[in-house]
């Protein structure tokens, strides 16, 4: 049961084979047994979960069940949850209990999900390993000495470890796709603007986008259908009609034109990952897809452009944490200046401070043109690479990450080495395109993700292709063996 898909759990709930209360109890007991080894959660909401599960069961009995009624789910601790602490992995928000729900949270609640808890993450979503959390590192269930990826590492681990069938995450530079790849699950980052950002703690507002993590593409489609949609309260929300992302899953993929970017297979890619991805591509070709060599010539520049734009936006967004209106405040401030500078010194961790400083530098007088404007121009070039590619192909495929999960601590002291791990995901955020990662095999015993990149608002196509891939592969059904509880 613990590794069942959302789709199969829904079928079982509908058929009356089990109740939401029963499966919620099962997940909670699995969590209490193994959470100590993985540290996937910041906050567990067991009591509320059981109440919500009983309510979902009553609604189903009364014939009023929502689309996801009774499905246990976890939220990344970046989404505001009314009455439940939302820390964003930071000491700064350790005591923050939001007075309202994020739109993602309220939409999923309306669909009937049962929230089991809030998951661990890199502080303010700034990281690729879930090691920068104030609440300690999360561990990869495939090897508890390795990182799970980040920043949505807790959410990815919850799904991979069978703590819940589904999770929410956010992806500013790869934070859904990369942990999904490193933990052997599926995850989709929708087109920028597809899912409301209201109530999602802001990191880099022109890049942030929420999406689901789950075992299968089919489950991602079910979850995204509930999460997505225009929200007048988010000024960058895309004005598009609601969409049923499950509707096109069964379409045939013969004749599909798949672009293979040379830059995603160049030096720096682990040979084991390259072999896994080449095998997947061959399988697509055997099923009638057409592989087309393409070029995304500005790929390498996505790392420097991103690490100007994201910190610049972060330095602006995080200026709100001043120790006055909410969040952490230092003890006994001598004066207002001391209140601000010491609150921010003590409330933020090292990586967050680094990014605020880099962003402040890039935006400061005399450097704006050389850094921020330059990065925005390169962002345009990166977008044009993709626009050009999509005139000829339906989808682009390549690896999600250059390496499998690395050991805890291996890159903690070298921020640039950590940033380079995002080379295949950053450009997609800069362009604002949808992309997903699906399990495609293993390399040195650790999961490998195949990345599918789509044109603007082509999530249905991506999910269709990923679902078809999961009809002839079983990588998404592989599960780690958790070590016995200590």
């Amino acid at each position: 049961m613990q590794h069942a898909s959302v789709a199969s759990l829904l079928a079982g709930l509908r058929a009356g084979e089990f109740s939401s209360e029963e499966i919620t109890c099962d997940y909670l007991s699995r969590i209490s047994e193994h959470e100590g080894q993985l540290n996937a959660f910041i906050t567990l909401t067991s009591e509320q979960a059981l109440e919500q599960a009983r309510a979902a069961d009553q609604q189903r009995a009364a014939g009023q069940a929502g689309a996801l009624a009774g499905i246990p789910l976890v939220h990344k601790d970046i989404f505001c949850t009314s009455g439940t602490r939302t820390s964003c992995g930071s000491r700064m928000l350790d005591n923050f209990v939001p007075p309202y729900d994020a739109t993602v949270v309220s939409r999923l609640r309306q669909a009937g999900v049962v929230m089991l808890g809030k998951t661990n993450m890199d502080e303010f979503a700034m990281g690729s390993s879930t090691e920068s959390s104030y609440y300690g590192a999360t561990r990869n269930p495939w090897d508890t000495e390795s990182v799970p990826g980040g920043s949505s590492g807790g959410s990815a681990v919850v799904v991979a470890a069978g703590f819940a069938p589904a999770a929410t995450g956010t992806d500013t530079g790869g934070s859904i796709r990369q942990p999904a790849a490193l933990c052997g699950i599926s995850g989709i980052k929708p087109t920028y603007g597809r899912v409301s950002r209201l109530g999602m703690v802001a990191f880099a507002s022109s890049l942030d986008q929420a999406g689901p993590l789950a075992r299968t593409a089919q489950d991602c489609a079910l979850l995204l259908s509930a999460m997505a949609g225009y929200d007048p309260a988010d000024s960058t929300s895309a004005q598009r009609d609601a969409e049923d992302f499950s509707a096109g899953l069964e379409q045939a993929i013969s004749g599909l034109k798949i672009g293979i970017p040379a830059e995603y297979f160049s030096a720096g890619l682990d040979s084991g990952i390259a072999a896994v991805i080449q095998t997947s591509l061959k399988e697509f070709a055997q099923r009638g897809a057409i592989l087309v060599d393409i070029s995304l010539p500005h790929t390498a520049l996505s790392v420097p452009a991103y690490y100007v734009i994201a910190p610049a936006e972060a330095s602006t967004n995080l200026s709100r944490y001043d120790g006055v209106r909410y969040g952490y405040r230092c003890e006994d401030p001598a004066d207002l200046h001391d209140l601000y500078t010491r609150t921010r010194e003590e409330g933020f961790g090292a990586e967050v401070k680094r990014r605020i400083l880099v962003g402040t530098y890039a935006l400061s007088a005399g450097y704006y043109d050389a850094y921020y404007r330059k990065a925005q121009q390169i962002r345009r070039l990166i977008q044009q690479d993709f626009v050009q590619a999509f005139t000829d192909v339906d989808v682009i495929m390549g690896p999600t990450t250059p390496h499998p999960a690395w050991k805890l601590g291996a890159k903690s002291n070298d921020p640039v080495a950590m940033y380079l791990e995002d080379i295949y995901t950053l450009g997609i955020n800069l362009a604002g395109l949808p992309a997903m990662s699906v399990p495609a095999g293993f390399c040195s015993g650790m999961p490998v993700g195949l990345q599918l990149i789509g044109n603007y608002f082509a999530e249905s196509k991506l999910l269709n292709i990923a679902h078809q891939y999961q009809q002839w592969t079983d990588w998404h059904q592989r599960t780690p063996t958790l070590p016995a509880a200590a």
Binding site: P99, Y192, G193, S206, S235, T236, A238, A300, L301, V303, P304, A305, Y307, V308, S319, D322, G323, V324, R325, Y326, R329, P333, A334, D335, L336, H337, D338, L339, Y340, T341, R342, R344, E345, F348, K353, R354, I356, L357, V358, T360, Y361, S364, A370, Y371, R373, K374, Q376, Q377, I378, R379, R380, L381, Q383, P415, V416, Y419, A431, G432, L433, Y456
Partner: protein, 95 residues
Amino acid sequence: MSVAQAEIEKIAELARIRIADSEISTVTERISSILEMVDQMQAVNTAAVEPMANPLDASQRLRADKVTESDQREQFQQLAPLVEDGLYLVPRVID
């Protein structure tokens, strides 16, 4: 490009982040390494390229100028570290 320690101190002041004396050299070194990586951008000729601020090139939507939010002052004040009579308290600025 490598950055002088004094420059990091100035930026930290602008960002209102105190950096302990014992940490300033490490912070300077790490930020220099990030800025060196970022400097790859300078090799690209972008003279004719329009900067891109929003991935969909969307502009800010406007709405009718009318009140849509209810007054939640008391609820919001409960989140603050220090309040009095509906005001947020900070250390005295003017004697």
